[in-house]
Structure formats: structure tokens, C-alpha cells
């Protein structure tokens, strides 16, 4: 396994677009060519070599030492291989990624994993608003893959998310699962206020909800087999990082009945 290392020379003072720094775009380049990769699409965008000390061999692993909230689009479009970031990242990390793995040792900004279709993202800190969400022009948010956040998650996670699983050890902020059309949000700590506004389909799993929308219908205690499948799938995908398996029985709240209402909030406690 060959590793290419990027060490920040100084803390960035402007937003940088790191979407060019993924293994498939760099694997065939020399170190000199890697240093000349532009970090952004504007004509005077800084070059990788201006911002980072670059060492190692281009291959399937990229390590970004340090980190900064100014590093946007880390691992965007990733289609294989591994990216490890030693600190925080900015917005749009893992946007549109297809496969591979991104590990972020600090916090992640907004729109983490938006429009991603596969792969695994592990954020050891917390994640910002619109995790797996849509930005203007996107039809859907997260479309597949798995996101694990050790900390908490901001507002409106999973906005118009269609597939995939987001697991948070901490709490989701207000309006998680907003306009969601499928997929799973799973928290070990609970949901903030009013989760699932206009939730069409999809599953929100957690021990508690701070404030429930009036358009969710209490279906009482249920023991669906899908909980077992989901627990097993996450255990296989995340290994030792996986949350505790779901209980056999949960309380189901069906909604959002302001729309087609085929989604569900499953309360584990």
C-alpha cells in the first residue's frame, strides 16, 4: 500500500477545494505533477504544492496531516482507496463519493456526504448541518454508503436523502430526516426537535425525540425483522466501530402524515 502525504505548510486563510486530491486522480502522477494540481477551478487557484508539503508515493492512500475548516470537498468524488485527515475539514467532504473510505479525525462541516452513492465515511468529531443533504440543484441527498459520526450531527441531516445509513454516536440536531425519501438515520443519543418534517419514506432510529411533530402517528411496540438485518449489516460494515445491536422491540411512529407518511421514527428506549 503506497501512501501520499499532504502536510499543511500553514493554516489556510481561504477556502480550498480539495476534490482533486483523490487517489484515482493522483495515482499516475509524479510528485512534481501532484504539486502542480490546482485546488479549485478558478484561474488563480492555489496549487497543491503551494499549500502542502507533499511526500510519499501516489497510490491508493492519501493522508492529510492536520486539517482545517477551510478544506472543502475533501474526498469529493472518491471512487476507491482511502483518505485520512488528521484534523477537521470544511463543507462537502465526501460529496458524490462512490466507494472507498474517508476518515476524518476532527469535525466535518456542512453537507458531509451529500449525493454520495457508496463507500464509508468516519468522522471522529462532529458533523455540521445538512449531513447527507441536498444543496440547490441536487435532486437527492445521500444515495448510498455509510456515514459514521462519533460526535453529534447538525440540523436537517438526511435532507432529501434516498438511501444509505448514517450512524451517530451523538445526537442529531433539529429537523433530522427533513423531506427524506429513504435510507436510515440511527443515533445512540437521540433526535433534536421535530425530526422528519415531510418525511416520505425512510427510517429514523434513536432512543428519544426532543419534540415530536404532530403529524406522526403512534403505532405502538413492534418487532420488525428489518431491525435484525440492519444491526447485522452495520456490524459487518463498521466492525468494532458499530453501535450496539438494536433491541428486538421498538416503538414505531409513522409519518410524516403531512405527506405520504410511509416513513418511521423507531424509538429504541
Amino acid at each position: 500500500m503506497s501512501t501520499l502525504s499532504f502536510n499543511l505548510r500553514t493554516a489556510p486563510t481561504e477556502v480550498l477545494d480539495l476534490s482533486a486530491l483523490i487517489p484515482s486522480k493522483l495515482a499516475q502522477l509524479s510528485l512534481g505533477d501532484v504539486a502542480r494540481v490546482a485546488l479549485g477551478s478558478v484561474p488563480d487557484a492555489p496549487l497543491a504544492g503551494d499549500v502542502f508539503d507533499i511526500a510519499g508515493t501516489p497510490g491508493d492512500t492519501i493522508v492529510i496531516s492536520g486539517g482545517s475548516p477551510f478544506l472543502d470537498y475533501v474526498g469529493a468524488g472518491l471512487d476507491g482507496g482511502t483518505i485520512m485527515v488528521g484534523g477537521p475539514v470544511g463543507a462537502y467532504a465526501g460529496r458524490g463519493m462512490k466507494s472507498g473510505k474517508i476518515t476524518i479525525s476532527g469535525d466535518a462541516g456542512a453537507y458531509l456526504a451529500s449525493t454520495a452513492t457508496g463507500g464509508l465515511i468516519h468522522v471522529k468529531g462532529s458533523a455540521g448541518d445538512f449531513l447527507g443533504g441536498t444543496r440547490p440543484g441536487d435532486r437527492f441527498g445521500l444515495l448510498g454508503g455509510t456515514v459514521l459520526v462519533d460526535g453529534s450531527v447538525g440540523q436537517r441531516a438526511g435532507e432529501r436523502m434516498r438511501r444509505g445509513v448514517v450512524v451517530a454516536k451523538g445526537k442529531f440536531g433539529p429537523a433530522a430526516g427533513s423531506r427524506m425519501v429513504g435510507g436510515t438515520l440511527w443515533t445512540e443519543a437521540g433526535f433534536g426537535a421535530r425530526p422528519g418534517p415531510l418525511l416520505r419514506r425512510g427510517t429514523l432510529i434513536g432512543p428519544s425525540v426532543d419534540e415530536l411533530l404532530p403529524t406522526f402517528a403512534d403505532c405502538g411496540r413492534v418487532d420488525p425483522v428489518i431491525l435484525r438485518i440492519l444491526s447485522r449489516y452495520i456490524a459487518e460494515t463498521l466492525g468494532p466501530l458499530a453501535p450496539k445491536a438494536l433491541p428486538a422491540t421498538v416503538r414505531k411512529l409513522a409519518g410524516d402524515r403531512a405527506t405520504i407518511g410511509k416513513g418511521e421514527i423507531l424509538l429504541t428506549a
Partner: protein, 302 residues
């Protein structure tokens, strides 16, 4: 035809002639192994011969909770038919009537194959619009609300066109009870092999057939050459002391699995057969012109 004798049992120098088929595998789980088996047994019932039943079906093996997608005990069943298209309605009807209806059941793909059939294509619509799907990784699971909770059924199942149907052993004996006992033991040994089923009742056929009939409209009729009550009246394959002939028919997802099963069956029959009154082992073929797979008994001897 030069036969050889092993451990007091004569093995004919002949071969089993088998046909290419399409096969699929399903995993049926339930709250207990008992209920997974009940569902699987009903679902594979009336699945002896593709001619009259539409598909040849059987239980391949039991699965521990570790081996199933939902961590519950399960059973793997196999279904064989002429083609994926011919299997499709069988799959829909059998799963819809026998698995969907069975308490606590769930139904998953049990065969990795690039070619797929829509496993949930019919059954999910039982949900009347309340069905929802959950895609995890590459697998999509449908959840159909039913009276005991949710019926989970995987969206697609793999189907192979490399399967083989009609591997067989003919077991001739001079004692009816002993012959049945020895043949049962061979079926039990074959059951331990993965990827095969013996679709007939208890794995054993007593009415082996030949192609054609004197009657218009019947495509098969009794294999008179192996009928002991006709030994004086027809060109018989029975020995003078043959009192009964039983056949084991084997369908497998691969040709190797069928060959391994015949080898295992032969081994068991040779080991215990003579003491139980088994006198000869033969195999059914149509002269080698109809089926592409030929399993020569002499190549499968232990």
C-alpha cells in the same frame, strides 16, 4: 456390459444421463428452525418432477443463525426448472403462497449469480401500497406489513443456467425393507452435500419412467425394463432375484455437486448395501443422446 462387484454389490458399467437446468437458491428464516422448516417444506412440496410440477424443489440444508441475513435460524431451499423464465411463476406462486403465509418467515436470496430473478416481484404487492424497501449495500429488502409484523423479502435472487437435473442411481435389491433402508441411508449421505437436492418423496423414486407411452398424450410411462413384476414378460434389466428397484434422483447447482452426490450415494450403498439385500447399482440413461451430462458409475466408485 461388464459390471464389477464391490463389497458384494454389483455396479453396472453404465452412466446416468442428466440435463442442463436453471436453478436458484433461497434462504427462508423464521423465529425458530421448526417454523423455517415448515415454510420450506410446504414451499418445496409438490416439486418432484419439472414435467408435472413446474419445478423440482427441495431443502438443501439447515442454516445456523450466523449464516442468515437476519440472525435467525433458517433453511436453504433450491428450485430447478427448464429456464429462468419457467422458474419465475413457480417462484412467485410458491413464495407467495407458502413463505409469505408462514408465521414469522422471511425470504432471502440464497445464490450469488450475476443473473437475477425478481424474488419480491409478486409478493411485495401483497402490501397494498404499505410495502417499503430498505436498501443496505447492494441488497434491497422489501418489508410487507402482515398480521404478525412484517414479511421481509429480498428484492432479487440469483439464478444459474449451469445447473444439472437428473443425476441418478438405480438401486436393485432382493429384500424390500432392506433396500429401502439402504437407499434412505444413501439419501441421508447425499443430503450432507451442499448445492444439491433429491426432489422426490424422501429423496427416493419408485416409479422410474421411460420416455413415451403407448397412450397418446402421455409423455412418459413406467420404466418396464426395471419393473420386477414384468421380468419374464419384457426385455428386463432386473436380475433374477430382483424384488424391487428404487431410484435416487439428484439435481444440483453445478455438475460437480451432482457427481459428488452420486459418488457419496454409491459409497454408502457399497458400504452397507449387501447386508441389507442390495444386489446391484445401475443408472438411468437414454442412450446418451438426450442429456449433455453423463456420469459413469465406474468413474465415481469409492
Amino acid at each position: 456390459m461388464s459390471a464389477i462387484t464391490k463389497n458384494g454389490v454389483t455396479i453396472d458399467d453404465t452412466f446416468a444421463e442428466a440435463f442442463g437446468m436453471s436453478g436458484l437458491g433461497l434462504i427462508i428464516t423464521a423465529d425458530t428452525l421448526k417454523w423455517a422448516r415448515i415454510s420450506a417444506e410446504v414451499m418445496t412440496g409438490f416439486g418432484t418432477s419439472v414435467i408435472g410440477c413446474g419445478a423440482e424443489c427441495g431443502i438443501d440444508k439447515e442454516l445456523s443463525p450466523d449464516e442468515t441475513p437476519d440472525g435467525r435460524p433458517g433453511v436453504r431451499v433450491l428450485m430447478f426448472g427448464f429456464s429462468p423464465d419457467a422458474l419465475s411463476p413457480q417462484l412467485r406462486n410458491r413464495v407467495g403462497q407458502c413463505v409469505l403465509t408462514s408465521p414469522g418467515s422471511a425470504c432471502y436470496n440464497g445464490l450469488d449469480s450475476p443473473t437475477k430473478l425478481g424474488l419480491a416481484a409478486g409478493p411485495r404487492f401483497f402490501g397494498d401500497g404499505w410495502q417499503t424497501a430498505k436498501k443496505l449495500g447492494k441488497r434491497r429488502f422489501w418489508r410487507v406489513p402482515v398480521m404478525d409484523g412484517e414479511f421481509v423479502i429480498e428484492d432479487k435472487c440469483g439464478v444459474t443456467t449451469e445447473a444439472v437435473g437428473g443425476g441418478n442411481l438405480l438401486v436393485l435389491g432382493r429384500d424390500r425393507a432392506g433396500l429401502l433402508e439402504a437407499t434412505e441411508a444413501a439419501v441421508a449421505a447425499i443430503a450432507k452435500i451442499d448445492d444439491v437436492i433429491t426432489p422426490f418423496p424422501g429423496g427416493i423414486v419408485r416409479s422410474g419412467s421411460k420416455v413415451g407411452s403407448k397412450y397418446k398424450g402421455a409423455i412418459a410411462s413406467t420404466n418396464d425394463a426395471f419393473c420386477p413384476t414384468l421380468k419374464g414378460a419384457v426385455a428386463t434389466e432386473c436380475s433374477p432375484d430382483t424384488i424391487a428397484v428404487l431410484e435416487i434422483v439428484i439435481d444440483g447447482l453445478t455438475s460437480k455437486a451432482v457427481a459428488d452426490s452420486m459418488r457419496t450415494g454409491l459409497k454408502t450403498l457399497i458400504e452397507i448395501g449387501a447386508a441389507k439385500g442390495v444386489t446391484r447399482i445401475s443408472a438411468g440413461n437414454y442412450g446418451g443422446k438426450l442429456g449433455p451430462h453423463h456420469y459413469h458409475l465406474k468413474d465415481l466408485l469409492p
